[in-house]
């Protein structure tokens, strides 16, 4: 490892690992991103699974990818186009060619470019031959065979050995970036702790890949300078894990047991899985028979004094709408996590979209206000899940937390917070003998919040339910005027939450020609596009919404500084509709993409420029 390298310094690099579902690309990508983070780079990643569980091997439909973006300043997206593509077979090359930068590096497993595989992938002829890939730097390594060579002394069957060929590639890429192998070696040791031969094989192959690249000096290698990252302990976290953990953290902080009633649905299932795994923290997960049972068991648990949540995606939210109304009128705390995906109907279940916003705001019968909050990065799913819990418990209200497929599956290094530093969460559970004139719907002080008397507490027996209730007593009431009073109390309760959320901030000047507006999962792309434009001298400001309903108190003020406002969304303009009806006085335009994909920086920059 002593030969001198020609090293190119880069601000940021995008790498995409791709191969068959079975090729271990997710693991490879994760290892590379964690190692990069460990070595001080910023990282943003996004996996790209096939729609089928196991699409036929070697076909384009079966390609699994993992894209990552590392930088020495903050990177906020996994990147539009790849500087480096790893393609473990012809199908992976086919599927990803349109996503490589001109002049980018392509690493392929030469051994896999057989006639049969080329056919399956739909290549007329071998793209490695002739001038087809002339605009790229192609590194065609015999990965499959060198993997076998590396393990020839081990007593392992060839098909077992073949499974570690992803380590060969990883080794090559590590060399390209002058990465150390230790982190991954440790990982291998833990992962296969019970199978020493496999540990050996993987480590051998990893080194073999590294050495292969080293020896051939195939190309110059890269360096992405360490980022100036704030001190602390870090970990990688995906949006869904962050959401689950944010809920668990809210439970712990409030001193309540966590209860999640849920039904599996892509791309939200991992929230349930994470919480099912946390029996050690006392979390109860109830895998219900459907989404309605998911939310209704949670409502029951909330009635019984738990910190209750339910998790789903669009079609499941549609099924929960009726029961959300019950939580609204019974004024019980509840978090409804909705991981948005492409619709309508089953739509594009594995793809991302922001098209459940109006459903979250309005998808219920009657005047039925519930808080709506949206996370905007994989890691801040933690914060917004936590805050959703806080708002639900402190205000006795259901809160809908919107994330999306892009956030859910994407991951980012994340500075681990200390529980002691998170804001307090108070709940309104009434203690025995605390109140000798308890009434189920009496409001606390000036607020619209009612107390939470839970079964088992002596002296506060009472009945709640879905029928309109008399103010204060909570008894069933058909009195016309009372219905109006209660409707406005429920509305006021949500409006009061404005005072509990942070003011909306502007990234850039607070006055100008154009304000770019986003909400939820598009943050990374929007902020990157805006920053790049500003660096290029374009004067544009940006504001991104996490608190959707109620909106921050200063929203109108923020918007009023600009001649034009462009709202960018991965849908057909739902936030635009909402903003128009909330603040009709402003001049809005819109940019929308409905392809099941996140924005690209390129298109955003162009759009923004066109709007100036």
């Amino acid at each position: 490892m002593s030969k001198k390298k020609a090293i190119i310094e880069k601000d940021h690099v995008v790498i995409k690992f791709s191969g068959d579902s079975g090729d271990g690309m997710q693991l490879t990508g994760t290892q590379f991103s964690e190692t990069s983070a460990l070595m001080g780079n910023t990282v943003s990643t996004f996996p790209d699974y096939p729609a089928e569980i196991r699409a036929p091997k070697g076909t384009v439909g079966g390609v699994s990818g993992f894209q990552l973006h590392i930088g020495h300043e903050e990177v906020n997206t996994p990147g539009d186009f790849a500087d480096i593509l790893v393609a473990m077979n012809p199908a992976a090359l086919k599927a990803n060619l349109r996503w490589i930068k001109d002049g980018g590096i392509i690493i392929v497993d030469k051994d896999s470019f057989t006639k049969r595989n080329l056919d399956k992938a739909g290549w007329d002829k071998n793209p490695l031959e002739g001038e087809y890939l002339i605009h790229y730097k192609v590194i065609a390594a015999p990965i499959t065979s060198l993997t076998q060579v590396a393990c020839k002394d081990l007593d392992l069957k060839p098909n077992i050995v073949a499974r570690s060929k992803n380590m060969f590639t990883l080794g090559m890429v590590y060399w390209l970036f002058s990465r150390e192998l230790d982190f991954t070696k440790e990982f291998i040791e833990t992962k296969f702790a019970k199978k020493p031969l496999i540990v050996e094989a993987n480590k051998l192959v990893l080194s073999a890949g590294y050495n292969y690249a080293l020896n051939l000096q195939l190309t110059r290698s890269y360096r992405v300078v360490r980022a100036n990252i704030s001190k602390g302990t870090y970990r990688n976290i995906s949006g869904n894990t962050a959401t689950a953990w944010g809920l668990l953290a809210a439970a712990e902080k409030s001193g309540l047991q966590m209860f999640l009633g849920s039904y599996p649905i892509t791309p939200a299932t991992e929230v349930l899985q994470e919480i099912a795994n946390r029996k050690d923290l006392g979390a109860i997960s109830f895998q219900a028979e459907d989404e309605i049972a998911g939310i209704a068991t949670s409502i029951g648990a909330a009635f019984a004094g738990k910190f209750a949540a339910t998790s789903t995606s669009g079609p499941g939210l549609a099924l929960k709408n009726e029961a959300i109304g019950l939580a609204v009128i019974t004024e019980l705390p509840l978090v409804i996590v909705n991981v948005q995906r492409g619709g309508p109907s089953t739509g594009l279940p594995t793809k991302t979209e922001q098209s459940d916003l109006l459903q979250a705001l309005y998808g219920r019968n009657g005047e039925s206000p519930a808080v709506v909050i949206a996370a905007s990065t994989p890691s801040n799913c933690f914060r917004y899940a936590y805050n959703s819990g806080k708002i639900a418990l402190e205000n006795m209200t259901p809160v809908i937390l919107l994330t999306d497929g892009f956030l859910a599956n994407g991951s980012r290094p994340w500075k681990i917070p200390k529980m002691s530093e998170l804001p307090e969460i108070k709940h309104h559970i009434i203690e025995e003998e605390e109140d000798d004139d308890y009434q189920a719907y009496r409001r606390i002080g000036d607020s619209m919040i009612r107390k939470w008397a839970i079964p088992g507490t002596k002296g506060y027996e009472h009945r709640i339910g879905g029928l309109e209730k008399m103010e204060i007593t909570g008894n069933v009431s058909y009195v016309p005027e009372n219905h109006e009073v209660m409707t406005y109390q429920r509305k006021q309760k949500i409006e009061d939450i404005k005072k509990q959320i942070p003011a909306q901030t502007i990234d850039g000047k607070s006055e100008g020609d154009l304000l770019v507006v986003g909400w939820g999962g598009t943050y990374g792309h929007l902020v990157t596009a805006v920053h790049e434009l500003r660096e290029e001298g374009t004067d544009v400001s940006f504001t991104h919404f996490n608190y959707i309903f109620p909106l921050p108190e200063n929203t109108e003020e923020v918007l009023s500084g600009f001649k034009k406002i462009i709202i960018c969304e991965i849908n057909d303009g739902q936030f635009l509709k909402y903003m128009r009806s909330s603040f009709p006085q402003f001049n809005y335009s819109q940019y929308n993409k409905i392809q099941g994909l996140p924005f690209s920086i390129v298109e955003l920059k162009e759009t923004i420029k066109n709007n100036l």
């Binding site: 209704a296 088992g456 027996e461």
Partner: protein
């Protein structure tokens, strides 16, 4: 949980006026439950009464306990949530034939499958009362109602069969006006660990009046009802001379004193038998060929879901290295930036 005191049934009456139609069977059921609860030696605050929507589902309002009048069909799942959250509560699900078996049918079979320790009282009036008289999944074939002006063409469910098909551990049947019998029944229901389903044949005086008249007929009822009791022979009839025997695996009526049959030939009811085969048959028996079976038809004990949830949590807690959120946050691969 708090200490219990001696109650009378009046302690269980809330301040809300009972608004069922005069003569509605619901009122009698309310009385028998209030009387039973007063005897259960359970603190009032430890009862949670959960219902869906329907006439019967108004029930919680009349009880001075914790109560939740849910949404239509969801009584079972709200109750499942309450009990799973807090197994110490005595959770009663009050539901109708529409609420439990039409819109709520799925939750019904799943709560049974999970064997959550709930006490479920199914008010079966074979009609949708609250919406003013449409047929329900238990309405007799051919019944003329507002939505079946020419008679239904749907076979009804027999709730007992469904309970057993879903793996139920407890099934009992009663009749609304048998307040004393029902009171005793509800005491047993509370004692049974696991989900207890009690079907009460309930007369809706407005939309399905007299539907159980054949069975409850004062003069003939001894011939048309068979009260089963665990460990006792299944004998019935005005003269206590009829009984059940098994023939090629099927139940059959015999007459004591005829064909050499004696009391000893009559089947002894074993409610606690794990196999549900006989229970299924007892639940199925239909008038007029057979008497309708009342009382506890099946009562076996298996681990309950709510118990198991908490036991699993305790077991994992004891063995996991992760004790709090900070531990979790730092688990797995992490790195320091200095």
């Amino acid at each position: 949980m708090s200490e219990t005191k001696k109650y009378t049934f009046k302690d269980f009456k809330s301040d809300q006026e009972v608004r069922w139609c005069p003569g509605c069977g619901d009122t009698a059921i309310l009385n028998s439950i209030q009387k039973a609860m007063a005897e259960m030696n359970i603190a009032k605050e430890d009862f949670a009464i959960i219902s869906g929507i329907g006439c019967s589902s108004r029930f919680p309002y009349y009880m001075d306990t914790y109560g939740f009048h849910g949404i239509h069909g969801r009584a079972g799942v709200i109750a499942s949530g309450v009990k799973t959250a807090n197994p110490k509560l005595s959770v009663w699900q009050i539901t109708g034939d529409g609420d439990a078996l039409a819109i709520g049918g799925n939750h019904f079979i799943h709560e049974i499958r999970r064997n959550i320790d709930l006490n479920v009282v199914l008010f079966n009036n074979e009609i949708y009362g609250l919406t003013k008289g449409q047929y329900s999944p238990t309405s007799e074939y051919g019944l003329k109602t507002k939505t079946s002006p020419f008679g239904t063409i749907e076979k009804p469910f027999n709730p007992g069969e469904l309970v057993i098909g879903a793996g139920g551990t407890f099934f009992a049947r009663g009749i609304d006006n048998n307040v004393r019998e029902n009171q005793a029944l509800f005491m047993e229901v509370e004692k049974h660990k696991g989900i207890s389903i009690v079907e009460i044949l309930q007369n809706c005086v407005i939309f399905n009046d007299g539907v159980f008249g054949y069975i409850t007929d004062k003069k003939e009822k001894l011939d048309r009802q068979l009260f089963v009791e665990h460990g006792k022979p299944m004998i019935y009839g005005k003269e206590k001379d009829k009984g059940l025997v098994l023939e090629k695996g099927k139940l059959k009526i015999v007459k004591i004193g005829e064909d050499g049959i004696t009391k000893d030939d009559i089947l002894i009811h074993d409610a606690n038998e794990l196999s549900p085969i006989l229970h299924y048959q007892l639940a199925s028996l239909k008038a007029p060929e057979f008497p309708v079976v009342l009382g506890i038809i099946r009562s076996v004990e298996l681990t309950t879901y709510d118990e198991a949830v908490h036991a699993q949590i305790e077991a994992i807690k004891a063995q996991s290295k992760i004790k709090c959120m900070d531990d979790l946050l730092h688990s797995g691969a992490t790195w320091e930036v200095e």
